[in-house]
């Protein structure tokens, strides 16, 4: 066995990148040239920061980290294989390497380094010491590095120990000589003994002659050689002895052959060295395999309470050390604010803590029978199905199963049987056996409750998926034509005098309007020309109404406390004029005869007087009759036949509603006592019924039987207008509180529908006499047109469709459209408003 140091020396010289070795730390520093100034500075900085020894060690070989890794792997191999190549091939290998040119270069480099050594080393060391002033620490570091990088057996070789460092150069010098190179003619240093590269040197060159690598050795079992060397030559199988030789070898060995192992690669027996045996022993004992390792070395306190003259870390003090925390402040202020607003009630200082107030013990079951208030997220368990007759202990006979049914049930799979039991009849409950599935079912129920996710389904009050579904399906207005859409003709009143009322004659050719200046004007319907006018007092005219009888062309005008019966005589043919005036004036003669004969069948109210107009001129222009009535007139309405008409006047007590008969010039006050102020009256279109609307109620009277038939409660605050459907079964009511109410007289006394479309008070409502239309006028200046189909079928409710909003009237003094009437033949509307304009709305 050759000495280890000598065998390793040539390897170190050949290796290009020397890994750091403890003994070469100082020379390494020296070898740093000028171009590596930056790296050196970084190194120095790392030193000055007091980085740990590991950091230093890694920093030094940072550039060839990969090599380091390979090294580690090789180290393990070395532990076992290092000795063997030295045995046989050490010399030859060394020689081969020596002859290479590269060796010369390296040597010369080393040599040049060696020349500058003494000066530079001293200068560098001085510089570093001046900068760092931590010589002691540096030595500590070096020792640390050494301890962690030396191989266990190196500690024994005195030549490489740190303590002998000063002698190292001398030793080197002894082993070297200076010769003149034969090639260059320069002087060069020659080493008579190779320098040991040490443990950390590149072990890849450590010789294994057989270079077959990791190939299993039995591949070569049948061959005369066992592999190939580095030159590709066969390595022949060494001769092996037979069993006797083995036995003899075992005897020859001191320890009986136990320390010999077989090297499969080289097919040789190798005896373990003492160190290797020691290593194996240590591993077997579970100790640190490194014999030199001392687990009890004193620790070096790098980071301690001791203030060092130079800081280990040069970071400036963070601000958080001396600035109050903003977030803590916020948190505290949040609590402070909560305390101020009372959200947190702090415990009073000195008061006992709340835990102390709690009773030390509480009854675990004391509340168990009291139903606790349901938790907001409480989810009741789903209910089990109640037992049926099947599960009864004594089911009726018809519930018992036949044998076939039982067999069929028993043949089923367990899953299909779930929840079903075979009904068994017991004579008494006492005989019922224990239910075998009880525990299993309870367990499954618990599993269901525990594992199956449950969701609290809150049932909404209105389950509306699509709000548009709530809107009733109405036909399109386009399908419901004709209805009025545009203002076609205007009837402008002079000075824009407020016009209160309007009426169209039964033939549809003339329009009459009553204005607040006391004038009644007659207009040609389709042209809009004022044909005639009459002055009826000075006060406003609240009502004007054509007699519905087509044969007689006359109308009644309600001026303050007088009813005027007027016929446009000049516009009538002679026969019509004669008939009309005869009809209107006939009552005078009959009344006079009554007076003369003292046989007055009817006593009319004292305040009412029927008179002829005074002058002939007035008679010429068509004034036929004047009637004095108590109070201020508000409304005139004709009976369908055109003989009776009714008036409403305001402060007249029980005389507020009067019914006049034109042919006989008679007036009666049908109500002796009036409940509330009458707003409107209306005749029923076909039956002898009479509607009286007070502020909140509508009463329907039978005129023949003289009795109250019905009271309607439309739910309005102040009724303004009223109209009866031409068929007589429905009624619409408009109110000053912006609502329109549809009453079905066959239904209850409450409204069928309440429509609230207008933004201001309603003034007039009216049904079209020929078309299924009705209108409502309002102070918001608009007229609303509705379609209304009334079915003869009693089961079908009337159909009401809003069709059109007619806008055009201006709002004046917060009054809008004051009156509107339907044309008797066409789907037209004539309206008058506070702006003094009458309008004809056509299709």
């Amino acid at each position: 066995m050759a000495p280890k140091g000598s065998s390793k020396a040539p390897k170190a010289s050949t290796s290009k990148a020397l890994p750091p070795k403890p003994s070469t730390v100082a020379p390494k520093r020296k070898r740093r040239s000028q171009e590596e100034e930056d790296a050196q500075n970084a190194f120095a900085a790392a030193d000055s920061l007091g980085l740990g020894p590991e950091a230093l060690a890694f920093g030094s070989d940072g550039e060839d980290e990969d090599d380091g890794e390979i090294l580690d792997e090789d180290d393990e191999d070395d532990a076992v294989e290092e000795p063997f190549p030295e045995l046989d091939f050490g010399e030859s290998e060394d020689g081969s390497f020596d002859g290479e040119d590269g060796d010369d270069d390296d040597d010369s480099e080393d040599e040049s380094l060696g020349e500058v050594d003494p000066d530079e080393e001293a200068a560098l060391l001085a510089e570093i010491e001046a900068e760092d002033a931590e010589e002691d620490d540096g030595s500590d570091l070096d020792e640390l590095i050494r301890r962690h990088t030396t191989k266990p057996d190196e500690g024994e070789t005195p030549g490489t120990s740190w303590e002998e460092d000063p002698t190292l150069p001398n030793d080197y010098m002894k082993r070297s000589r200076t010769v003149t190179s034969k090639i260059t003619g320069q002087e060069k240093t020659e080493w008579d003994q190779e320098i040991d590269a040490g443990y950390g040197s590149d072990s890849s060159t450590e010789e294994t002659t057989n270079r077959i690598g990791n190939v299993p050795a039995y591949f070569y079992d049948d061959l005369p050689h066992i592999g190939y060397d580095i030159d590709g030559k066969k390595v022949m199988r060494p001769a092996t002895g037979d069993e006797l030789d083995k036995f003899l070898e075992g005897i020859e060995d001191a320890d009986g052959g136990w320390t010999t192992v077989k090297d499969k690669l080289h097919q040789q027996n190798v005896a373990l060295t003492e160190e290797e045996l020691d290593l194996i022993h240590r591993l077997a004992k579970g100790e640190n395999p490194d014999a030199a390792y001392d687990p009890y070395t004193p620790t070096i306190e790098y980071f301690s309470s001791k203030v060092l003259p130079t800081p280990l870390v040069g970071r400036p003090e963070p601000k958080s050390r001396f600035l109050p925390s903003k977030w803590e402040h916020k948190k505290v202020m949040k609590i402070v604010r909560a305390i101020r607003t009372g959200r947190i009630v702090p415990r009073r200082p000195g008061a006992s803590s709340s835990s102390a107030e709690k009773p030390p013990f509480y009854g675990l079951w004391s509340q168990s029978d009291v139903a606790s208030a349901p938790h907001p997220m409480h989810m009741p368990a789903p209910k089990l199905a109640l037992p049926s007759h099947n599960e009864s202990y004594n089911p009726p006979e018809e519930y018992l199963w036949t044998k076939d049914e039982k067999d069929e049930f028993n043949e089923r799979e367990k899953e299909d049987k779930k929840g079903q039991v075979i009904p068994i009849k017991h004579s008494s409950l006492r005989q019922v056996a224990a239910y075998p599935e009880f525990v299993q079912e309870r367990f499954e129920r618990c599993l269901d409750l525990y594992l199956a996710p449950r969701m609290l389904r809150r049932r909404p009050k209105l389950d509306i998926k699509d709000p548009s579904e709530l809107i009733p399906k109405l036909p399109s207005p386009q399908d419901l034509r004709p209805f009025p859409t545009t203002a076609s003709v205007e009837y402008p009143h002079p000075n824009g005098v407020r016009t209160r009322c309007v009426s169209i004659d039964p033939t549809g050719m003339w329009v009459v309007t009553g204005a607040e200046d006391g004038e009644v004007r007659l207009w040609e319907c389709a042209v809009g020309r004022c044909a005639m006018k009459w002055k009826c007092g000075d006060g406003p005219i609240y009502g004007v109404e054509w007699c519905p009888d087509k044969e007689r062309s006359l109308f009644a005008v309600a001026s303050s406390s007088k009813v005027h019966i007027i016929a446009p005589l000049p516009l009538l043919s002679e026969i019509d004029a004669a008939r009309t005036s005869q009809f209107a004036l006939a009552g005078f003669t009959s009344a006079s005869t009554d007076d003369a004969g003292n046989a007055k069948k009817h006593t009319q109210p004292a305040e009412v007087a029927w008179r002829k107009p005074k002058g002939d001129a007035e008679r010429e222009e068509g004034r036929l009759v004047e009637i004095d009535v108590p109070g201020t007139l508000k409304q005139i309405v004709w009976h369908k036949r055109g003989d009776y008409f009714s008036t409403v006047s305001a402060p007249a007590g029980n005389r507020s509603v009067l019914i006049h008969q034109l042919t006989k010039h008679q007036t009666q006050a049908p109500f002796t006592k009036q409940k509330g102020e009458v707003q409107r009256v209306s005749f029923h279109p076909s039956r002898p019924h009479f509607f009286v609307a007070t502020q909140r109620q509508i009463r329907m009277y039978d005129l023949l039987k003289q009795e109250l038939v019905k009271t309607l409660n439309p739910g309005l605050k102040w009724i303004s207008s009223l109209d009866v459907h031409p068929l007589g079964d429905n009624l619409i009511v408009g109110s000053y509180d912006r609502r329109l109410v549809w009453h079905d007289l066959d239904l209850s006394s409450t409204p069928y529908k309440t429509l609230r479309y207008h933004s201001r008070a309603l003034r007039q409502v009216a049904f079209s006499p020929v078309y299924p239309l009705f209108l409502s006028t309002s102070d918001d200046g608009s007229i609303h047109i509705f379609h209304s189909t009334v079915y003869s079928d009693l089961l079908t409710n009337p159909l009401i469709v809003p069709l059109k909003v007619l806008k055009g009237h201006e709002i004046k003094d917060s009054l809008g459209v004051l009156d509107a009437k339907w044309h008797p033949r066409e789907p037209w509307v004539v309206s008058v408003g506070a702006d003094g304009m009458g309008r004809l709305w056509c299709t």
Partner: protein, 486 residues
């Protein structure tokens, strides 16, 4: 920038007017006409997109090699071209790739406001049947005749109606007497009147001729309600002795009276020649007797046409067929009558309240105006549908329509929206011209001035109404077209 394809067109002035930029878009058009006098070979043209009516018109004149250019109007998809072709395509979304089918017709030049005549009151009817004279009836109850041929005030006033006169027309003189002219009128007083006045012989030597005083010849006493329409047969252009003075009166009471005013026929006091006749006749009111002069005698109708259930707004004779008459009324119907047997031959209904009626120059085609703001054409051939064409555009009820005397497709309509519109039946979506009434001096646009009467004789168009004035336009460009023969 000239036209391509096999129709090489010499460079016209229109073509030179087009911008010289070669990048201008080109449109393919095909020009057609229904007027054989102006037809050109059916060829596809490529014209610049910025061409307007004028350019196309020039093009046709070039093709026709007309010495004097005739203006044309162009219809694309039955609407008039009023902008450039490219603008039309952009507006209607028509692809510029397809060939535009353009129909052209001789243009009617825009009417020009001619004069304004004052009237006593609202004008209810106007007639231009005699050239150079305007006969109007007014709501004041008077008729007036404006004529430049008349001496100084150039105005004859017929006063005699108690109330508003609602209609007036000329009646052909039965004897063809020179210098005499008959006029019929009706009004609110339910009495028709036939007037005679002498047309003064224009003598330059005696300019101070006194105005002729019209006299009432007959009273027509039939209607129990105001007379809404009085119409006679179309006046012959030259007064021939054979012209029969027939008259149609229509009233609010829904009856149409047919009158023969030939002297000696149905004349005089009650003629007891039938119970029906007797029923129809009405005694005269004492008031009327008082007011009118006893010079005239009342007339009885030849026949009475009953059928309408509402006011009859207009009744008129057929232009060609002597035994045919038409009437329209508020009962939504247009009826045709056979006068020889006094019976209804055809009824066509609608949903409109018809305010006026006119017969187009082509037979069997009637035009009405209604309250729903539409002008409608009615084809009176038996199998045809009720309303063949509606022309929307007016914003108020169409109170009056007047057909062009010769052109079968031109129509003027007056409405409550204070405009007169001239329509071509080929362009129903859009009126040819919209003539707003000139602003009335003194009044600051106080509402709309309703037009109640329109008439035109092909050259002049007059309209009157609420404004108590008669506005006349000169429709000079209207070509005297050959009436279409069936």
């Amino acid at each position: 920038m000239s036209l391509t394809e096999e129709q090489p067109i010499p460079s016209t002035s229109a073509a030179t007017e087009a911008p010289a930029g070669g990048e201008e878009r080109q449109l393919a058009i095909r020009l057609t006409t229904k007027d054989s006098a102006y037809s050109i070979p059916s060829t596809k043209f490529l014209v610049p997109a910025n061409w307007r009516r004028f350019h196309l018109s020039e093009l046709i004149n070039k093709v026709l090699e007309n010495s004097s250019p005739i203006p044309f109007d162009f219809l694309i998809n039955s609407s008039l071209l009023r902008s450039s072709l490219g603008a039309y395509c952009a507006q209607t979304g028509t692809s510029e790739e397809v060939t535009l089918e353009i129909e052209y017709l001789p243009s009617t030049l825009p009417p020009q406001l001619e004069s304004t005549l004052p009237s006593e009151d609202w004008v209810s009817d106007v007639s231009l049947a005699i050239r150079g004279a305007v006969l109007t009836s007014s709501y004041a109850g008077t008729l007036s005749l404006h004529s430049s041929a008349l001496p100084a005030p150039s105005n004859i006033t017929f006063s005699g109606h108690d109330q508003s006169a609602l209609s007036a027309c000329y009646v052909p003189h039965p004897l063809g007497a020179e210098g005499k002219q008959w006029v019929a009128s009706g009004g609110m007083d339910r009495l028709g009147r036939v007037w005679e006045y002498s047309t003064p012989s224009i003598s330059l030597t005696n300019p101070t001729t006194e105005l002729p005083v019209p006299t009432t010849l007959y009273t027509l006493n039939l209607h129990t309600a105001p007379i809404s329409s009085v119409r006679s047969r179309t006046l012959p252009l030259t007064s021939t002795p054979t012209a029969s003075p027939h008259l149609l009166t229509a009233g609010w009471d829904g009856i149409v009276g047919v009158w023969d005013l030939t002297p000696g026929v149905n004349e005089g006091e009650p003629q007891e020649d039938g119970s029906e006749r007797k029923k129809k006749r009405r005694k005269q009111a004492p008031g009327t007797m008082k007011l009118t002069l006893p010079l005239f005698c009342s007339q009885t109708p030849v026949s009475v046409l009953r059928g309408h259930t509402g006011k009859v707004s207009r009744a008129l004779f057929d232009r060609t067929d002597a035994d045919k008459a038409y009437s329209a009324g508020w009962d939504h119907t247009v009826r045709s009558w056979d006068l020889s047997v006094a019976s209804e031959t055809n009824v066509k209904t609608s949903d409109k309240v018809l305010l006026s009626l006119a017969q187009m120059a082509s037979p069997n085609l009637l035009a009405t105006g209604s309250t729903d703001r539409l002008v409608s054409f009615w084809d009176f051939r038996e199998s045809a549908q009720n309303i063949s064409l509606t022309m929307p555009g007016h914003t108020g009820p169409v109170s009056t329509v007047a057909a062009h005397p010769t052109s079968p497709l031109l129509l003027a309509s007056g409405s409550y929206d204070a405009t007169v519109r001239i329509w071509d039946a080929r362009s129903p979506k859009q009126a040819l011209f919209v003539l707003p009434l000139p602003p009335k001096e003194g009044s600051e646009g106080k509402g709309q001035e309703k037009i109640l009467a329109v008439d035109w004789d092909g050259e002049r168009l007059v309209a009157g109404g609420e404004g108590a004035r008669i506005v006349a336009w000169k429709v000079s460009g209207a070509q005297a077209e050959v009436p279409m023969v069936e």
